[in-house]
């Protein structure tokens, strides 16, 4: 039960954006993706989401090629949250979260999606913001709204009998410390229920704390892939980030000054 990339490469013109990427997002795990700016983390996330085809190599959802799925089936299987979203018109928070409901395009919506909606709004403490205009919220509040929207798309109440995945691009970049930890704890709880998660992390210490597996990307290639202990090694990190770093194991921390 996984999203899998096998020797995936992507080129634009004669530039290789991604080269020979091989990784797997498994159910019940958080895969943390780290790397310097412009290393290809977001491109990799977009590629795994199915936004555009790879130049070579294949992406599998379970054991089927991504192209064998209809758009709706893909949307029910994995949900994606980008770094930024700009809403032009004055939708309410509730309406934005509702947009995560897949496939119900008719004039009616059914009650069980309404329940799911309410659960997630409570989970992310958006109850008080529910009827506010999303454009008047702070950056951090908006980010929580979009996390909620991404969760609604694939959320299951008790456990995940069918595989479901969440791909997040720096989901906590605008959140204050308390909300950052809260959101990541929520993700970890969902992962315990069987959800598979990939998070592009900016903060190496959050990666150390929350990721089950880590992929370090540099120049469009995987520089290191494994458990946080294997990847977050001072030599590897110093080499890639060009900054002297030390790593202490107890507590697991990366320090760079």
């Amino acid at each position: 039960m996984s999203i899998k990339a096998t020797q995936v490469s992507l080129s634009r013109g004669n530039r290789w954006l991604l080269n020979d990427i091989k990784l797997e997002i498994e159910c019940g795990q958080i895969l943390g993706v780290i790397g310097p700016n412009g290393s290809g983390k977001t491109t990799l996330l977009n590629l795994l989401a199915g936004d555009f085809p790879a130049s070579s190599g294949e992406i599998y959802y379970e054991n089927l090629l991504i192209n064998d799925y209809t758009l709706i089936d893909r949307a029910k299987y994995r949900s994606v949250m980008s770094q930024r979203q700009e809403i032009v018109f004055s939708y309410t928070v509730k309406e934005i979260v509702e947009m995560g409901i897949v496939g119900e395009y008719g004039i009616y919506k059914d009650t069980h999606t309404t329940d799911r909606l309410q659960n997630i709004i409570e989970l992310l403490q958006l109850e008080e913001l529910k009827d506010r205009n999303v454009r008047t919220l702070s950056g951090g509040e908006q980010q929580r709204v979009h996390i909620a929207r991404a969760l609604v798309q694939i959320w299951q109440e008790k456990s995940y009998p069918d595989p479901r995945f969440l791909l997040l691009d720096e989901p906590t970049s605008s959140l204050d410390l308390a909300h950052e930890i809260q959101v990541l704890e929520i993700l970890r709880a969902e992962v315990k229920k069987g959800l598979g998660v990939m998070v592009v992390f900016h903060d190496l210490n959050l990666t150390a704390h929350f990721a089950d597996k880590v992929a370090l990307i540099s120049g469009g290639k995987i520089a290191a892939y494994g458990t946080p202990e294997q990847v977050l090694e001072p030599e590897i990190l110093s080499n890639i980030y060009g900054l002297a770093m030390t790593v202490s194991k107890k507590p697991f921390r990366v320090s760079y000054f």
């Binding site: 018109f89 309406e95 934005i96 009616y108």
Partner: protein, 338 residues
């Protein structure tokens, strides 16, 4: 089962519907020749009154209803699709295309001299054909809407708009005095020239278009997250773009062909509807149709009454009402935003 429309929105729609019915009733009764409401209800009409109702007021108000609904809904749809509050049906070049067709017909064909009342049908027909030509050009130039960036479509529309305006300018320059009078009136818009023969097909096109748009309204809501996000949420974005543009263009092309250019309705009405009870497109389409109807029928009545027995061009009335209102809206919105 809960609807995507909430209670406040349902209430607003009901009020809009009342407004619409009220405007249509007033439009039927009043004009150069007033008809008593009681005599319509009791059916005791004189021959002249029946004649006016069936062949003058009836088609006139039906056309105003069609144009108002078409402009309001297509404005809402295009603003949603382009995620741009300034988009309106005029912007994608379809209105200007229709105008170019109509003006060509007025200048090149001597419409008054044609047999079998052909002239009455020829101008709208030419307008429909040339607005269709604009739609085809947009389609070809955007490679069947395959260009991923929606701004590109908008820029193509603006360019076509400018080209059509040049054509209209040239024809205006070439026209004789009487033709000039005809085309100036056409450009300012009027519901007076309506006849049932052309109204019936228009009616079906507009109704079908609005129903289709309401049916895909939810997808336009999801499009507000951005094209990529909508695609990830299972929306076939290219197909949606093509549908919305084609439907809007067809609806606007056909109705503008019959009425001439009616300014500001497509731009202002959706904003007003949003301001009152929310942004989601299911409500927005229904609301824009109803409010659009109220405004065009109302403006038509105003244009008939203002300098009776002469008539003001209705396009002038909608712009005269729309522009100050738009100004008010912009200032008010700025206060809310900041």
């Amino acid at each position: 089962m809960l609807r995507w429309i909430n209670f406040k929105q349902s209430l607003t729609l009901a009020v809009f519907l009342l407004f619409g019915v009220f405007a249509c009733s007033l439009g039927t009764i009043y004009g150069g020749f007033d008809i008593g409401f009681s005599s319509i209800l009791s059916g005791e009409l004189q021959k002249l009154e029946t004649e006016i109702l069936l062949n003058i007021r009836g088609p006139r108000i039906t056309l105003a209803v069609m144009v108002g609904a078409a402009l309001g809904v297509s404005g809402a749809a295009l603003q949603g699709l382009f995620r741009n509050p300034l988009a309106d049906p005029g912007l994608i070049g379809v209105s200007a295309g229709a105008a170019l067709g109509a003006v060509s017909a007025i200048v090149f064909l001597n419409v008054e001299l044609l047999p079998f009342q052909l002239g009455k049908y020829l101008i709208p027909l030419a307008a429909i054909l040339s607005s269709c030509a604009v739609i085809c050009l947009i389609y070809i130039l955007t490679n069947g809407f395959k260009k991923s960036d929606i701004t590109y479509v908008l820029l193509i529309g603006i360019a076509l708009n400018a080209l059509a305006t040049v054509g209209i300018g040239l024809l205006t320059f070439m026209s004789t005095d009487s033709q000039l009078r005809g085309l100036t009136y056409w450009m300012m818009g009027s519901f007076g020239a309506a006849s049932w023969g052309l109204l019936v097909p228009t009616f079906f096109v507009v109704i079908l278009s609005i129903l289709t748009l309401i049916f895909i309204a939810r997808k336009l809501d999801i499009m507000q997250l951005g094209e990529v996000e909508a695609y990830r949420l299972g929306v076939k974005v290219k197909k949606l773009k093509m549908m919305v543009i084609l439907i809007s263009a067809l609806m606007v092309g056909i109705s503008v062909s019959l009425s001439g250019i009616i300014g500001f309705v497509g731009l202002v009405v959706p904003h007003l509807v949003r301001l009152i009870a929310g942004t989601n497109h299911t409500y927005l389409f229904a609301g824009s149709a109803l409010l659009g109807i109220t405004i065009t029928v109302g403006a038509d009545l105003l244009s008939r009454m203002a300098i009776s027995p002469a008539e003001l061009p209705v396009g002038l009335a909608t712009s005269a009402l729309g522009a100050p209102f738009f100004l008010f809206l912009v200032i008010r919105l700025r206060k809310i935003e900041y």
